[in-house]
Subunit: 205 residues, 4 copies
Amino acid sequence: MSPRRRDSESTATARAGRRAELLATAAEVFASRGYSATTVREVADAAGILGGSLYYHFDSKESMVDEILSTFLTDLWASYDRITAAGLGARETFHALIAESFRMIDLYRPAVMIYQNESRHLAANPRFGYLLDSMRRFREMWLSVLDRGVLDGEFRADLDTGLIYRFIRDTVWVAASWYRSDGALSADEIARQYIVMVLEGILET
Amino acid sequence: MSPRRRDSESTATARAGRRAELLATAAEVFASRGYSATTVREVADAAGILGGSLYYHFDSKESMVDEILSTFLTDLWASYDRITAAGLGARETFHALIAESFRMIDLYRPAVMIYQNESRHLAANPRFGYLLDSMRRFREMWLSVLDRGVLDGEFRADLDTGLIYRFIRDTVWVAASWYRSDGALSADEIARQYIVMVLEGILET
Amino acid sequence: MSPRRRDSESTATARAGRRAELLATAAEVFASRGYSATTVREVADAAGILGGSLYYHFDSKESMVDEILSTFLTDLWASYDRITAAGLGARETFHALIAESFRMIDLYRPAVMIYQNESRHLAANPRFGYLLDSMRRFREMWLSVLDRGVLDGEFRADLDTGLIYRFIRDTVWVAASWYRSDGALSADEIARQYIVMVLEGILET
Amino acid sequence: MSPRRRDSESTATARAGRRAELLATAAEVFASRGYSATTVREVADAAGILGGSLYYHFDSKESMVDEILSTFLTDLWASYDRITAAGLGARETFHALIAESFRMIDLYRPAVMIYQNESRHLAANPRFGYLLDSMRRFREMWLSVLDRGVLDGEFRADLDTGLIYRFIRDTVWVAASWYRSDGALSADEIARQYIVMVLEGILET
DNA sequence: GATGAATGAGAATTCATTCAT
DNA sequence: CATGAATGAATTCTCATTCAT
């Protein structure tokens, strides 16, 4: 509680704040221009500073995406884990996961876009091994929900669950590319309609 | 059938063939590594020639993607136009468009991936204005099919057709990223299941 | 006069100064080796930095010549305009323009050489349209002086003024290629003899 | 006179003709675009063949300029030598040399332009040593004429003959850059007026 | 924290030249 | 004679990164 300590605390906080601010800017730019097509200078420009100045905050361009993606994925999996651990039925779990995914898109739109567009390329780098892990976990999680649903007689048995899985995976995340938090439909409404579509189809019955 | 005629035929063919060959290689590499992350040298390596030699055939890296994408889109729209001009009902049109899309993925997998992953960035360049045109046409085409289907009572009226459109658009093309022509499911089988999924949903009834 | 003020002054000066310094170096090299035969690396070497570093200051090799030439021409025309607006007689204007031209050669020798040697080629590029403008203005300016001189009975009427104009234009600027500010004749002395030569001829009378 | 011999003769002639034709084209292009800014492909395009095909006729781009320049200079010096050996007075020699120079411009316009614009750069190459020789001879020839003229009381003694020499040299050759054989003034008329200008000046007397 | 000026590796592109056909 | 396709070195330009101030 000495002045010195308060100082260093507020400095640390300010620093973290600036860092987060810069990461948000970087994420935005990476998402819209593509990671490898984006120059460090473009990120800096968007942040209103000079290219070199970014290196006071980050080691490298790579460490920026790294932090953007790992922050997002950490939060994502905390949420997913909470849902899958809740002991819900297949259909309810399905519901909850989809809804949560759209909430994540709402929260981390740029990060989701980067995840969606750049994962394949980045994953070649050992540093981004966790991306592969995440994709694997994602697959297992969904297959487990779908397979259980088929077993329970809730989901159709005449469709390839592997295909359904890809179908869900792709459509959910790709929504990040057109979703606008200020658009006509809220994240929750999109999730609701999306769930209806996937569960019941678009045919009039 | 005289030797002379065979000669001039085979040269003409070789000429066009070499170009197509190089474009196929380039498309493959662009698709797998990402356009801007791919170096011209990588394309050349994959083609078994030196970097500079590509410039005998193409003006620039950009003109390579340009040709890859415009060739694909020209063929795609020729097919789509044939279908929409056939005077089918909404549901049959839906069917035919989806099936054709998967056939296109089968035929132009790398081009589709590039279209899917790089369109946004490339479209910033006036040279690629046709990408925006294509996206616009795509949207109009699908909305027209969906709206007609809703009017005809074939498609549900309680879902946002704009949302359905995006849903379809994204899932169809994204399949290019995992589709293997030598995989377990054929393009037609994928299309069939995909259509069932979208039309009837994944719920057991 | 506080240290702070001196600092910021000297930084601002250094900034503009560095650019001007590099341009002076580039002009020197372009003038002596020829613009298109000069490599960016040669300019950088002459400036004591690496090739890539030049691009921190300039967009391209082209923009370097551009700046060199436009700076020179801006100054040149300011001077010429001052003279032609002074309301002098044809012969006095003639005098003043020639003298000023030699002063410009003294001041901008490399730029003049580049102007002289590369204008034709560069002018094909729309970016250098001002070179054509300048040549046109130059022609009009001289023809107007010469024609007025003929009318006033000061210049001979039996010579083609178009020919005289070219004669003057070429000889004046071409002097840049051999003029040395440390040579035996000063710019003013050269101008003086030059004027005598053109006005009175080289014949003993 | 055997058919074989006639054949080889006419082939040789045709070959030489084609060679001269290509050189004329090359000279034109080098003159208008500048030697180092001109690509071999541009020359070939202008000749209606492909880049590589030029190498059937010439060893290199360099050997093309070489042949262009040396052909011109050989002819030029043959003429100059004839004149200086004729034992004329200073003024008559002056007359004859200028007239001959304009005739050369008429005959070898592109070569003269190349000589004028590229000599300095090319001369750095030992292969083009003859360019320096030519320049040196040129200087000596003119200084000798001028000095003799001053001694004989024909030319003014109050002007620096070195300056007059440069003045003549530059204005004469530079005319190649604007001279058109189909222009309003013939080579002879230009020479005539030029001689008057230089000898008597442009002042009305 | 940020700036201005560089570095240096590597990217895209150019171009003279070669060569089998 | 000419072509088509390459080579490979050089060139222009880009960009992540560094660092003294």
